[in-house]
Symmetry: C2
Subunit: 152 residues, 2 copies
């Protein structure tokens, strides 16, 4: 395995990413498959909703965030494997044409007492638009192998 082991992570570390643009047509086809609601599908129908205009599905934003994370320098050994999330929020809508990037910060590193070959890291990942505004925040616990596992 390549990438960072549990021992390579420390609270306070931050990782950036590249950028991905949310294309209007992809936002609509994603919504048509997974989240077919008027505010994600059609500009005119969206105008009279809480979103006041077309917005990408939050699950599209979450999926694009994952792609940005996978391609970033974060790279835990063994991959990005989420054990669960403590929080997931979409503080403002993602609009077609928005260009997204992520910033991740390690909040905590927790070796496992029962399983020395792995541990958890708690990471806050903020997805930002081209204006630097947060469009998604999640705090997740990721399973990361320790160097003991790497030697195994």
């Amino acid at each position: 395995m390549s990438g960072r082991y549990l021992e390579d992570f420390a609270a306070g570390q931050t990782f950036g990413s590249g950028q991905l643009r949310i294309e209007k047509e992809r936002a609509k086809t994603f919504a048509a498959e997974f989240d077919p609601q008027p505010f994600h599908l059609n500009e005119e129908a969206a105008a009279n909703t809480l979103f006041r205009g077309l917005a990408a599905s939050g699950w599209h934003t979450a999926a694009v965030t994952m792609r940005l994370l996978v391609d970033s320098e974060f790279k835990p050994a063994g991959g990005i494997v989420g054990a669960g999330f403590d929080e997931l929020r979409w503080p403002r809508p993602v609009r077609p044409g928005d260009v997204l990037r992520v910033e991740s910060e390690v909040l905590e590193v927790k070796p496992s007492k029962s399983r020395p070959e792995q541990g958890l890291i708690k990471v806050r990942t903020t997805t930002l638009n081209q204006n630097g505004e947060a469009v998604q925040i999640f705090v997740g616990n990721l399973i990361v192998p320790s160097r003991a596992a790497g030697r195994g």
Copy 2:
């Protein structure tokens, strides 16, 4: 608007859904676009990972869960609009060929003091496979309009 208003929801209500099958090819194309990691892309590479075989991306499971919810009888007036989640977990992998359905339970109904036209409902949504095993659990807070808004 049609659908259920805030006043129509009560703690303890449950809602079921239809079913959707996770097709192997769609799991792979979803992963190639959004979560390109070996355990989601390739059977052989997946065999030697934590997942011990090909597994759908958790974000694919989340997106399919949303589709099941949108098509279910849950139907809040104004649509399913998540203000945020308190918890999101994937207790076991989703395998290609798994047939998923969801069960939602209303945990709490919270009228807004400052905004009488809407409120929040806290809902636990469990995604189950064909063996009745939970593959995803999330607890979300949804924005739901009140009847006052419906009259507006």
